[in-house]
């Protein structure tokens, strides 16, 4: 079990309030991702759930028990850090065994659990090495192994893939998702990478300046962003957001349309512009268009390959049913 409830949680560092009052429920077995720009308070929130950061006010409940004053190790949570935070003086075996040894389990049980964890993470051949002799991906696996053996009610991940290179990151992302599917344990995952959020989460919590902007499934956030911030933050490439006369024509203060919801034509369309850069990825083409009535650069995503180049005149037509409209407070209408 691992249902986590945050009630009126706030956090201030001295005079600076980083998290104004916040309520959130993470259901048992859910994969929740906290996402937001750096400095939005997502790591602080995770550390508060872990017990590494004290609450300024409010309560945290795990499975109905108030754990606000409970020390980190007694909350039944396991954490994986961005820096891996392995014990450099211990071998992989000792690293993974460490939390069990601290709990005072007997040696035969420790050995059995460590070996099972090592097998599931492909670390069996490395059990007698020290962390310094491992690659980044292997180190992260050891950190995950150290978390798994504790059999926690929830896993907390603090940007665990940020230190890995791009290829490894995709692989580890899948491994963590697989792990969640097979273990069905609650996981809270902090990242600034919205692609990680979209691909892994059951539920995404978008944060900005310590405030929850929206909570929802990845597709809810994609299709019905609650405000301009979420609209701009979720989706890659970013949504094209514009205000002024073009938005007013659509009956909104601010409007937005995703790059994949704009059609292009070389002779006719709603907005005329000039091609700046066309990025050919093979499967898709990202066309960045200047000089439209929208003012800012407009990005268009076209499936497959399109023969446009720098300086070409191009016409853009948004798919009207896919336009997002916001009022003057930035809220969805």
């Amino acid at each position: 079990m691992g249902r986590i409830v945050l009630n009126n949680v706030t956090k201030s560092f001295g005079e600076t309030q980083v998290i104004p009052s916040l309520d959130l429920t993470i259901e048992d077995g859910e994969f929740a991702v906290f996402v937001g720009p750096s400095g939005c308070g997502k790591s602080t929130l995770l550390r508060m759930i872990a017990g590494l950061e004290e609450l300024t006010s409010g309560h945290i409940e795990i499975d109905g028990d108030d754990v606000t004053q409970v020390p980190p190790s007694k909350r039944g949570l396991a954490m994986v850090f961005q820096s891996y935070a392995l014990y450099p003086h211990m071998t992989v075996r000792k690293n993974i065994a460490f939390p069990l040894r601290m709990e005072g389990r007997d040696q035969s049980e420790i050995n059995k659990k460590v070996e099972a964890a090592a097998r599931s993470l492909n670390l069996t051949d490395y059990l007698d090495r020290k962390p310094a002799a491992l690659s980044g991906g292997q180190r992260q696996r050891v950190a995950i192994g150290r978390a798994i053996v504790r059999n926690p009610s929830a896993f907390l991940f603090d940007e665990p893939l940020s230190n890995l290179d791009a290829a490894l990151r995709v692989g580890m992302r899948l491994e963590i998702s697989e792990m969640h599917k097979s273990m069905k344990t609650t996981m809270i995952y902090v990242t600034h990478d919205q692609v990680e959020a979209m691909t892994m989460a059951d539920k995404i919590v978008v944060l900005q300046a310590g405030v929850i902007e929206q909570v929802g499934t990845p597709l809810e956030l994609y299709h019905t962003p609650g405000n301009v911030f979420v609209a701009g933050f979720i989706g890659s490439p970013k949504m094209n957001i514009f205000s002024g006369s073009e938005a007013e024509k659509l009956g909104a203060h601010t409007a937005g349309v995703r790059p994949e919801h704009i059609d292009i034509d070389l002779s006719d369309g709603t907005w005329k512009g000039t091609v700046g850069v066309a990025e050919h990825l093979g499967s898709d083409t990202f066309v960045h268009v200047h000089d439209t009535v929208l003012g800012d650069l407009v990005t268009v995503r076209v499936a497959g390959d399109v023969a446009v180049k720098h300086g070409d005149t191009i016409y853009l037509t948004p798919q009207m049913d896919k336009i997002h409209k916001f009022d003057e407070r930035g809220l969805r209408v």
């Binding site: 980190p72 190790s73 949570l77 954490m79 850090f81 820096s83 935070a85 450099p88 460490f98």
Partner: protein, 277 residues
């Protein structure tokens, strides 16, 4: 071209010569002291026996037979070992607390500790002596160990604090998540990771304790007197007996020089800590 080759000649030969020159300059007093310790008091002041003389062990025999060298040496060992241990027992937790649970006052506390080193020792000499005599601790190991520990504690805490700061906070927090107690944190994580730093600190504090003279000379008469007191006691009023004094001094600094020689690597690490990250 000529200038370039002249420059490279200077750097090729000049620097080693300069380095050797400086090293010899520093080493010379020690060399002279050791040399003099093998001369009789009469020979020690005669120019004709400056380098060539008939070596004798009389000064050293005199030291052990008439001056109770081993008692002073034992006291030095007791004082230095106990004071070093006491300093670490207090210093490690203090530095740990300040490195990993800093408060707003941490910086000020560290500066305050350092500022105690700026107080001239002479300013508190008489209060200390009266106090020590008043509570009946004058010339006891307890007093000497306490005083020597306390004067070295600020340095120990500063050194340890700097070493502990190098340990990533995440590792300590991972330990907290894994369920280590505070003592477990120190034993399982902090000490193994900062072992080099703790050893360097211990070594330097041991040397400082061994060499401490101001307080050990003034707070003892015989029972707790260290080798510093033995040297001081050989300042004969009728003139200096150079041979005897040199032997006392050589026997006093000998152990620490040998210790320093074997621990050179740790010492350099300790003295240059924080210089290069």
């Amino acid at each position: 071209m000529a200038i370039v080759s002249a420059n490279s000649n200077i750097s090729r030969y000049g620097r080693p010569v300069l380095a050797w020159g400086v090293a010899l300059l520093f080493f010379f007093p020690i060399f002279w002291m050791v040399l003099t310790s093998f001369k009789t008091d009469a020979d020690a002041v005669k120019p004709e026996f400056l380098i060539w003389f008939k070596p004798t062990l009389d000064n050293y025999l005199n030291l052990t037979e008439n001056y109770d060298y081993w008692r002073f040496a034992t006291n030095s060992v007791i004082t230095s070992v106990c004071a070093t241990l006491f300093t670490l027992v207090v210093g490690v937790p203090a530095a740990y607390a300040m490195a990993f649970n800093p408060s707003r006052a941490t910086k000020d506390i560290l500066m305050w500790m350092l500022s105690t080193k700026m107080l001239p020792a002479a300013a508190v000499l008489y209060p200390m002596i009266f106090l020590a005599k008043g509570i009946g601790l004058y010339d006891t190991h307890v007093l000497v160990i306490t005083v020597v520990s306390l004067i070295n504690l600020p340095i120990a805490i500063w050194m340890l604090f700097t070493y502990f700061k190098e340990i990533p906070k995440d590792i300590i927090e991972a330990g907290k998540m894994d369920g280590v107690s505070t003592w477990g944190e120190v034993k399982e994580i902090l000490i193994p990771l900062a072992w080099g730093g703790i050893a360097s600190t211990a070594l330097i504090i041991f040397i400082f304790c061994w060499n401490e003279a101001y307080w050990t000379v003034r707070l003892t008469t015989i029972d707790a007197a260290t080798l510093s007191k033995l040297i001081e006691g050989n300042r004969a009023p009728e003139g200096l007996f150079f041979g005897r004094l040199s032997a006392v001094s050589t026997a006093a600094v000998g152990p620490i020089v040998v210790l320093g020689w074997f621990c050179q690597k740790q010492l350099v690490q300790g003295l240059t800590f924080g210089a290069v990250k």
